[in-house]
């Protein structure tokens, strides 16, 4: 791919523009790699630059801060400093200090959890700082926006926390990769656990955040719960950032439903759960059964925000620090010693993504995005805390075990809020690649 030159592309236009009188205007950073390069931002010095694009302001700032900590730790480990972390348990042993003989350097930026800001920040990393890979983020809207930008520009995008099906479904891209799980897997993993605990005769009421991730979540949960015999009483859309959800919660009281599914994330979830519990829903009896609340996507930070209201409430998560496999233990130890507290699932997925990228680059022997994409496609690995994992070539989605968790009744510390109820095996959450639609397209290396 890198050998074939398209008749008109970014680079040649730049060249034309430069000749057309703007030669003075072209700063050195932009020309240095561009003339000889086989691909965009080919590292020529002793360093390779990665771009960590995380939310630093706004509602997800704490999650973003945790992602950044994980990335900084990953860079340390990649450069052969520190205790090596997951590199010791990772099944691929290619990485031995540095990547392709280069030291790993990084630049950071603020997505503000807004598509425009995230793209501007990613563009700065690509255009000014010469990043060959962009990674991070804490929402699906941002992930999809940045992924398509990276596709157009010709760098690899390693998604951070993004849970919507669309990221590797309808909006998947050849240059984009996701380690985090999605709503489809959440539904598949949660349903059997819900069946065991709450039976097959239930009436569910959905409150759904009114944007694409919420709809994706609602659809997946409905699909799997209705598949096992549950009835959906109503699915009500709530505006993003509603704050006070009382007007959506009261209709639940007398709807005849005995399950409330909160398809909310972040602050919305913290608020709606807190308020639902205040309305006495957790202590209520309907149809002779205990009323229950379900939060399909959990994170430890959200659980912290909702406090004791999460007790006994089921949900799913990508990873949790209390896992006892070698990989998870190594990562928790490494992260905990560096920062003094255990990592969140966002930190885990970002750390793993950084390592996977570096490993693929090492195996490919280059930072050419197309070669790296080829090395990641169909890559099987283990030792990263999620059991044997596959980066499926057809949609660039990782397939691995999914955790079903429950709010802990007696937490021992402020981090110990969730307990793992079940590790749903990978085979149970797999689905055919064409199920979610979308086209990967062709790889773009920016040349």
């Amino acid at each position: 791919m890198s050998l074939i030159r398209k008749p008109l592309n970014r680079r040649s236009i730049l060249r034309a523009g430069a000749m057309g009188g703007a030669a003075l205007a072209t700063p050195t950073i932009f020309t240095s790699g561009a003339w000889s390069a086989g691909y965009l931002n080919e590292p020529t010095g002793a360093e390779v630059v990665l771009g960590f694009n995380v939310p630093q302001t706004g509602a997800y700032a704490d999650e973003g801060a945790d992602e950044l900590r994980a990335y900084q730790l990953a860079v340390k480990h990649l450069n052969g400093e520190g205790d090596g972390g997951l590199l010791n348990t990772f099944s691929s042993k290619e990485l031995q200090g540095g990547v392709n003989g280069k030291k790993v350097a990084y630049v950071t930026g603020d997505t503000q959890t807004k598509s425009d800001a995230a793209r501007a920040s990613a563009k700065r990393m690509i255009e000014k700082d010469g990043a060959v890979m962009i990674t991070g983020g804490s929402s699906s809207g941002v992930a999809i926006a940045v992924q398509s930008l990276c596709q157009e520009a010709g760098v690899i995008f390693m998604a951070g926390l993004t849970h919507s099906n669309d990221t590797t479904g309808k909006d998947k891209r050849k240059n984009g990769f996701r380690h985090f799980f999605n709503t489809e897997m959440s539904g598949a993993a949660l349903a059997p656990v819900l069946k065991n605990n709450y039976g097959t005769d239930r009436k569910a009421y959905h409150l759904t955040a009114d944007y694409t991730w919420g709809w994706s979540q609602e659809e997946s949960i409905k699909k799997y719960t209705e598949g096992m015999g549950w009835e959906t009483t109503a699915a009500v859309r709530t505006p993003l950032g509603a704050g006070d959800f009382s007007q959506y919660i009261t209709p639940v009281l007398n709807s005849g439903a005995d399950v409330l599914v909160l398809n909310h994330y972040g602050k919305d979830m913290v608020n709606s759960l807190t308020q639902a519990v205040q309305f006495g829903l957790r202590d209520k009896q309907v149809n002779g059964k205990d009323f229950v609340i379900i939060v399909p996507l959990y994170s430890r930070l959200m659980a912290q925000g909702a406090g004791e209201n999460v007790k006994g409430i089921f949900g799913s998560t990508n990873w949790h620090w209390s896992l006892q496999d070698e990989g998870s233990k190594a990562f928790v130890k490494s992260f905990g010693q560096e920062y003094g507290f255990p990592p969140s699932q966002a930190a885990h997925t970002c750390y793993v993504q950084a390592l996977l990228y570096a490993d693929a680059a090492q195996r490919a022997g280059t930072f050419d995005p197309c070669a790296i994409a080829a090395a990641l496609e169909g890559f099987e690995f283990d030792g990263m805390g999620n059991g044997p994992t596959l980066y499926r070539a057809d949609d660039h989605q990782c397939f691995k075990d999914v955790l079903v968790v429950k709010g802990k009744e007696n937490p021992t510390s402020q981090f110990d809020l969730l307990e793992v109820v079940e590790v749903t095996p990978r085979s149970q959450v797999e689905y055919p690649a064409d199920m979610l639609g979308g086209e990967l397209g062709t790889c773009n290396n920016g040349a």
């Binding site: 509602a59 704490d62 009382s246 004791e308 209201n309």
Partner: protein
């Protein structure tokens, strides 16, 4: 089909309950909106200042509750070197300080930390209001509204970034006292079936509290000499100034009172909405809409607008309404604002000439 029929039947039977519950929601929301808007309209009306930091004052109040709770649950941390946590650091043994010192009274205090933190919030907010007015706002009385917006917005950002630097960006849960934590079956008191009309105790406490604070502010303005001067100042500042009354000092007091009211609204709201550093901005636009719909400089107007918007918002969120007008619950507040401002040029109870240029 059968299922739909059954649903429909069930629906018609419980329409009354749903409406009653939404009315309660509306009152509760209205109380909150009115309380938040009260301080803002006070500052508008008397001082003529567009205060974009009002949301930040609300947020600071909420964080008074957080701080008070943190102070009460301060812990002595001792490490046990023989045991380690999963991440390798020595296990910490935490013993709450206050509880250890005061025993049962300490536990009781912790339980009542949200209402008790009013004791902290009132002096703190008074001080913040005083410092803000003397140090900053005072110099902006004669400046254009645009400058007031810029400076107060800048201040709001600074205040919230300070809170973010101390407490992080994640919401911090605060719980209501055990006594009023659950929900009350108020329907059964009035002869409805049990379990049909239930409403959280704390929301009723909040409504009562909002009513009390609003009444207190009204009484203060209505029945004290000080209030009389302030009201006169709201009506015609120049004339009051000509009468030789030191209106400046009174402005400081009014600003401080407004800060306290905003802060109290924040304190009591924490069990409903776990506070985070950004909550002020989330309420800012709403409080402006309430104030303007009520009419600039009119306290009763702000209260009426608060309840009106709260109730309409609740009813617009009913599934039956949303089925006819999808998305209406997202825009109802703004739609009502537009309609009211077009029908009544100065909002519900605004006076001519206030903030019209």
């Amino acid at each position: 089909m059968l299922h739909q029929c059954r649903l429909l039947q069930a629906k018609s039977g419980r329409t009354m309950d749903v409406i009653l519950l939404q009315l309660l929601n509306g009152l509760d929301k209205g109380g909150a909106y009115a309380l938040i808007a009260l301080g803002l309209t006070l500052i508008f009306g008397t001082l003529g200042v567009v205060n974009f930091a009002h949301g930040a004052l609300f947020m600071l109040g909420a964080f008074c509750a957080v701080t008070f709770n943190k102070l009460l649950s301060l812990e002595v941390v001792t490490t046990d070197p023989t045991k380690t946590t999963a991440w390798g650091s020595p296990l910490e043994i935490r013993t709450p300080y206050v509880e250890a010192m005061l025993g049962d009274f300490g536990t009781w205090m912790l339980n009542y930390s949200v209402p008790m933190s009013i004791l902290l919030a009132v002096p703190v907010m008074l001080l913040i209001g005083f410092v803000m007015e003397r140090g900053l706002i005072k110099h902006f009385y004669k400046r254009p509204h645009a400058d007031q917006i810029l400076v107060t917005f800048g201040l709001a950002i600074v205040l919230q970034e300070i809170i973010k630097a101390i407490y992080g960006a994640n919401p911090i849960p605060q719980s209501a006292p055990d006594l009023v934590r659950g929900a009350a079956d108020i329907g059964s008191i009035f002869g409805f079936d049990p379990g049909v009309i239930v409403y959280p105790y704390w929301r009723m406490v909040y409504l009562a509290f909002a009513g009390a604070v609003i009444a207190a502010v009204f009484a203060f303005l209505q029945f004290t000499t000080f209030g009389m001067v302030v009201r006169a100042g709201m009506a015609d500042r120049d004339t009051v100034g000509l009468l030789g009354i030191n209106i400046e000092r009174r402005f400081t007091v009014v600003f401080a009172i407004a800060a306290v009211v905003a802060g109290l609204a924040g304190v009591m709201y924490t069990p409903i909405l776990p506070p985070d550093y950004h909550m002020g901005m989330d309420f800012l636009v709403l409080s402006f809409v309430v104030v303007v719909v009520g009419g600039m400089g009119s306290l009763p107007g702000a209260v009426a607008a608060g309840f009106l918007l709260g109730i309409l918002q609740s009813f617009a969120s009913m599934n039956e309404v949303k089925a006819i007008l999808p998305g209406i619950d997202q825009i109802i507040i703004y739609l009502v604002a537009v309609v009211i401002l077009l029908v009544r040029p100065r909002g519900l109870m605004g006076r001519k000439g206030v903030m019209e240029n």
